[in-house]
């Protein structure tokens, strides 16, 4: 028991690590085993207190389900909005002196370009007829001398991105027949701006709710710490490091967050499932091929990853505070 003799003036038994003779591979294996054991133990503790634990998990789930669902909805809204752009058209107003014959020739010429899906000519007469038919100003308009409306060529571009559209607009503006070129995407820009604001709001919300997750998990673990105060004190007296004490609680934090995130993921996807059929009907009415998508892999990874980090942070903060309180033990 007392093999070390005191004759060499060596630093003393009390400074030597006790387990120095154990090989590192064995120590690593033992360490991994201890972690696994603790992970399992934490899960069992949650399992054995189903009511208290499921309350925590549910609150975590709700806190996470809100941003997850919003994220899924925005992600779904983005696709059809981007798709709307490709169905937009460019109005090419021709100079008043251009004859209908020349306009018709230009329409055909433009229709032949590979980047243009289709063209349609609205002559001055077409325009007037439409205005009379739809505006209700028939009397006022018939009082006019001559036709003040320009001929318009409606161009449906085959578009891939915003840069291509800009390029095409510039080309059309350079035509000698062109008086004015208009690409009606203002409302699209507005919609995108609204979407961007919504995304910012969700990000801010997510941060707040993320703090919520830290506090919920932290508070649950604080209660657990209090009920295991004696056990922790005994462990410390027997030489447990802070790391050893922290380990099972970090694992509890992991489980609360992971199970909460799993539930939030389910809730978000159930929400999408719930609105899927009316949304798809709507898309069909617009002749759009888009269908509502579930939370994608990136969103799922973000949800799980951030939840687990937040749960573990909550646990560490609370245990460290508790250990500080316990000092000098």
């Amino acid at each position: 028991m007392l093999k070390n003799s005191s004759s060499k003036g060596r630093p003393g038994l009390f400074r030597q690590p006790l387990s120095q003779k154990i090989r590192w591979s064995v120590r690593l294996k033992t360490y991994a085993l201890a972690h696994l054991h603790s992970l399992q133990g934490s899960f069992l503790r949650i399992w054995e207190t189903p009511i208290a634990s499921s309350l925590t998990i549910l609150v975590v789930a709700i806190a996470l389900a809100l941003p997850a669902s919003f994220h899924a909805l925005i992600q779904n809204a983005r696709l059809p909005i981007e798709a709307l752009q490709t169905t937009s058209q460019i109005s090419l107003f021709l100079k008043p002196e251009i004859t209908n014959e020349a306009a018709r020739r230009l329409t055909e010429k433009l229709g032949g370009f590979p980047l243009i899906l289709g063209t349609q000519l609205l002559t001055k007469e077409d325009g007037l007829r439409e205005l009379i038919a739809y505006s209700g100003f028939a009397d006022a308009l018939s009082a006019l001398h001559g036709n003040p409306l320009p001929a318009v060529i409606l161009v449906r571009p085959r578009m891939t991105d915003a840069a291509a559209v800009t390029l095409m607009l510039n080309e059309l503006r350079r035509l000698s027949e062109a008086d004015h070129v208009q690409f009606d995407d203002e409302w699209l820009k507005k919609l995108r701006a609204v979407l961007a604001i919504a995304e910012r709001c969700i990000a801010a919300f997510s941060i707040l709710l993320g703090f919520g997750v830290v506090f919920i998990v932290g508070n649950t673990i604080r209660l657990e710490l209090q009920s295991r105060r004696e056990e922790i004190a005994v462990n410390k007296m027997l030489g447990a490091t802070d790391h050893f004490i922290r380990r099972p609680f970090i694992h509890s934090g992991f489980w609360y967050a992971f199970l909460g995130a799993l539930m939030a993921w389910l809730v978000a996807n159930l929400l999408i499932l719930g609105i899927q059929s009316p949304a798809n009907e709507l898309a069909e009415l617009y002749g759009s091929p888009y269908r509502l998508a579930y939370l994608d892999l990136r969103g799922t990874a973000l949800l799980m990853g951030s939840a687990i980090v937040l749960g573990i942070v909550g646990a560490i903060v609370v245990v460290n505070h508790f250990l500080k309180d316990l000092e000098p033990l």
């Binding site: 028991m1 007392l2 005191s6 004759s7 003036g9 630093p11 003393g12 038994l13 009390f14 400074r15 690590p17 006790l18 387990s19 154990i22 064995v26 120590r27 294996k29 033992t30 360490y31 085993l33 201890a34 004696e230 056990e231 005994v234 462990n235 410390k236 007296m237 027997l238 030489g239 447990a240 490091t241 802070d242 050893f244 000098p328 033990l329």
Partner: protein
């Protein structure tokens, strides 16, 4: 038997060996005082040293500072003044993260056992080894050896509360020796036990001492202490009034 044994078990004083090197004591108190904010001075200017392989009793009325003295050795409390050395290592000089490793060299025994009542006897005794990161196979071998030594091998699956007081204390002792510490500190280990059980526990301590373990046992039971006729440190209102000097120094 006592005088003979004593000559063998207590080593010569550490002041200076022939080679001129100082041999360090197991425990050395250097002018240690401990003051609590609300209850005043629990220990004042305590000086003593305990050699390797010694078994000493710590006596005194209740509130004399026995528990405080033991807690200071295990760094469960910090001294207000002075310093404590374990084999020459200053406890004051230890960093916070080194303290757990100091405690792993100690075996602590308490009057109220401080067992974890939701864990089996086996798991209670295994705790120090789990804390130290031993392999499960190694743990099971050592735990059984420790339980065998205290005669509780057959009750390893029981919960502590299903055992008698004496048995619970033996579990506490098994937990204190399972990692073979060089120093055992016992705080009123027989305080809750009847005289026969107390005697039995004391004999167990003497056996540990026979194989070289250093023990410091706090007890207010004068008769028991006298029966074992070992070095006795007496505390009175926080002052060491007796036994402060080593036998050979006296």
């Amino acid at each position: 038997m006592a005088p003979m044994k004593r000559l063998v078990s207590i080593r010569p004083i550490p002041i200076a060996s022939v080679s001129g090197k100082k041999i360090q004591a197991m425990i050395e108190f250097d002018n240690v005082s401990k003051r609590y904010p609300d209850s005043g001075e629990a220990l004042s200017e305590v000086n003593f040293s305990l050699q390797r392989g010694e078994l000493a009793f710590l006596t005194g009325h209740s509130g004399a500072g026995k528990t405080t003295l033991l807690r200071l050795i295990a760094a469960l409390e910090r001294p207000s003044r002075g310093d404590i050395f374990l084999e020459g290592t200053s406890i004051k000089g230890l960093q916070k993260r080194q303290i757990p490793f100091l405690r792993r060299k100690l075996g602590l025994i308490f009057q109220d056992y401080r067992l974890l009542n939701h864990l089996s006897v086996y798991d209670n005794v295994a705790l120090p080894l789990e804390i130290m990161g031993h392999h499960p196979d190694d743990i099971s071998r050592r735990v059984r050896a420790a339980l065998d030594k205290v005669g509780l091998l057959k009750k390893e699956k029981r919960l502590p509360l299903a055992l008698s007081g004496g048995e619970q204390q033996r579990v506490g002792i098994a937990r204190a020796i399972v990692h073979k510490p060089p120093l055992i500190l016992a705080d009123e280990p027989t305080g809750n036990l009847d005289p026969d059980l107390a005697e039995e526990i004391m004999r167990m301590f003497r056996d540990f001492n026979d194989v070289g373990v250093t023990l410091l046992i706090a007890s207010h039971d004068q008769q028991l202490v006298q029966r074992f006729s070992r070095r006795t440190l007496r505390l009175d209102h926080g002052k060491l009034t007796e036994g402060g000097l080593n036998d050979a120094e006296e």
